[in-house]
Symmetry: C2
Subunit: 305 residues, 2 copies
């Protein structure tokens, strides 16, 4: 799957992933009203509305982006109907040829991580059949529990040729509270980064590992160091746009080959129609506004090469 | 909800939580066969089977335990049908008067943690109605992202009078890989423990905080230190039984008042009928075997006071 991700990025000339993180406040009124009219003020209506909203965006941008990253929390907040919308979104994006990165940030003790790995990347055996739960291409994983919490994900990645992005240095303001603390003179995130490189060594695709990393775009100096520590790890970079990261700051996350990083934007794309810059598209043109925002982001990022 | 947890523990004289972590291999054959006969070798059959299995155990033990802790990964592995079984289990246990600790180990940047908090502890606003997703009483939370990833959970706890248990020192073998690394001469888990105490300061129940901690029962010396660092945090202790922790090792996790900790057992209880000790109950008596295992665990733990 890492090979497909790299191939998609080259083909679309866009190291970009669109974060499908639907808040109800992002959903155009005409979509939400219709759902509520049909299903009442219910979780089911919310699920239908965010699916409808997503579908519009995916249809409008799927030919110009390599991948999407649905943040499962934004679906999980609506309970089962929300997760049904998540599942439909994953399936639909895969049908459209997009690589799907489930931003689930799971991670637990070994036996539990195995269950998450089966639910999101692999399958479960039921009688004589192998059945698939959410079946994303990649997921994000939390490293706090150490190697035995990570290994089950790596094992399933090998079996299924899928991938993970492990949190190394996150984009949020207080990420440094624990991640930056110094251990033997070096910050914790570097130590986690070294482990990511190790974990990924024996599951290599053609040029990059199945095991990637999350490094926030808001910390370019740390990105530079981590790029060197994990040369074969694809870096998923959140924090561009709404969270404050700029294109100039992204160069250090890439390798000399112009590859090795994929930059996420969520609100900046899916909610573009609410920005002054794209207001002309109107609510009805929310999907076209998202397309224009992707084109602008692509131009912005590609000028750093 | 922390008050209800303490009250339930006192009333049942059992600082015990039963981990409802159903693997298909734990489910008695007659239950699984029936589900497959009715729904085929599908995720739906798996969901029905684990729900049926859980219901039997809950009915058999609900009068002698204060709380349950369903591990969501064991449900999530079966996709939507698995999560429907999770939801039914949460609702059923609450109806039975049990405190439900959703072992979900979520945690993300602020806006995303807010969505998780709404999905699991609070509700979401849909039009004029507030709707509830999974609606557990407590959940477990991962601290790797720092304060702004935790605060949204604490805020919802205050609003809804619910609670969280934050991972401090986990029970798994490689938990020390990052958690034990020394920062200014002290292990990371102590620094996280101090933060847990701080986060919990302004949301106190009668005697304990809404903000608790997870500290593995397999590390009693660390439990002793953490007990002092977080005197007002309830400690959720996994690792007893199948993971190797013994009753003697649990004393340091409790305060002088005999409270302050709740010990989890999952496999040791729900899968008791597969142990030699309880084999006499047979598959058909799996729920009664679980009841006996709870009674034995209660006796084992209460002798430390």
């Amino acid at each position: 799957m890492i090979n497909k991700l790299v191939e998609n990025i080259k083909k679309k000339e866009a190291p970009i992933v669109v974060g499908l993180d639907p808040m109800l406040s992002y959903v155009p009124k005409f979509i939400l009203d219709k759902a509520i009219q049909e299903q009442g003020e219910t979780l089911e209506a919310a699920g239908s509305a965010i699916w409808e909203y997503n579908k519009g965006i995916v249809d409008a941008v799927c030919d110009i982006i390599p991948a999407v990253k649905p943040q499962i929390a934004m679906y999980e907040q609506f309970g089962i109907p929300g997760l049904q919308a998540f599942q439909k979104t994953v399936e639909y994006c895969k049908e459209k040829g997009l690589v799907v990165i489930g931003d689930v940030k799971r991670g637990d003790i070994g036996s539990t991580s195995t269950a998450y790995a089966h639910g999101h990347l692999g399958g479960v055996q039921i009688g004589s059949r192998k059945c698939y739960g959410f079946n994303e291409d990649f997921i994000t994983v939390n490293p706090y529990l150490g190697t035995d919490g990570i290994k089950p994900f790596v094992d399933v990645c090998k079996e299924e040729k899928k991938g993970i992005f492990i949190l190394v240095k996150t984009s949020n303001p207080s990420s440094g509270e624990f991640q930056d603390r110094e251990i033997d003179g070096r910050p914790l995130y570097e130590i986690v980064g070294e482990k990511v490189a190790q974990w990924g060594e024996d599951c290599m695709g053609d040029s990059y590992s199945y095991v990637g990393a999350v490094v926030g775009g808001t910390y370019p100096e740390m990105g530079r160091v981590l790029r060197k520590i994990m040369p074969k790890a694809y870096i998923l970079v959140p924090g561009y746009g709404a969270q404050g990261g700029t294109a100039e700051e992204l160069r250090p996350y890439f390798n000399e080959d112009g590859l090795g990083a994929i930059v996420n934007s969520s609100r900046g794309i899916i909610c573009a129609y609410q920005q002054e810059k794209y207001a002309g598209f109107g609510e009805a043109g929310y999907a076209e506004a998202s397309r224009q925002a992707v084109l602008d982001m692509k131009e912005d990022i590609n000028r750093i090469f």
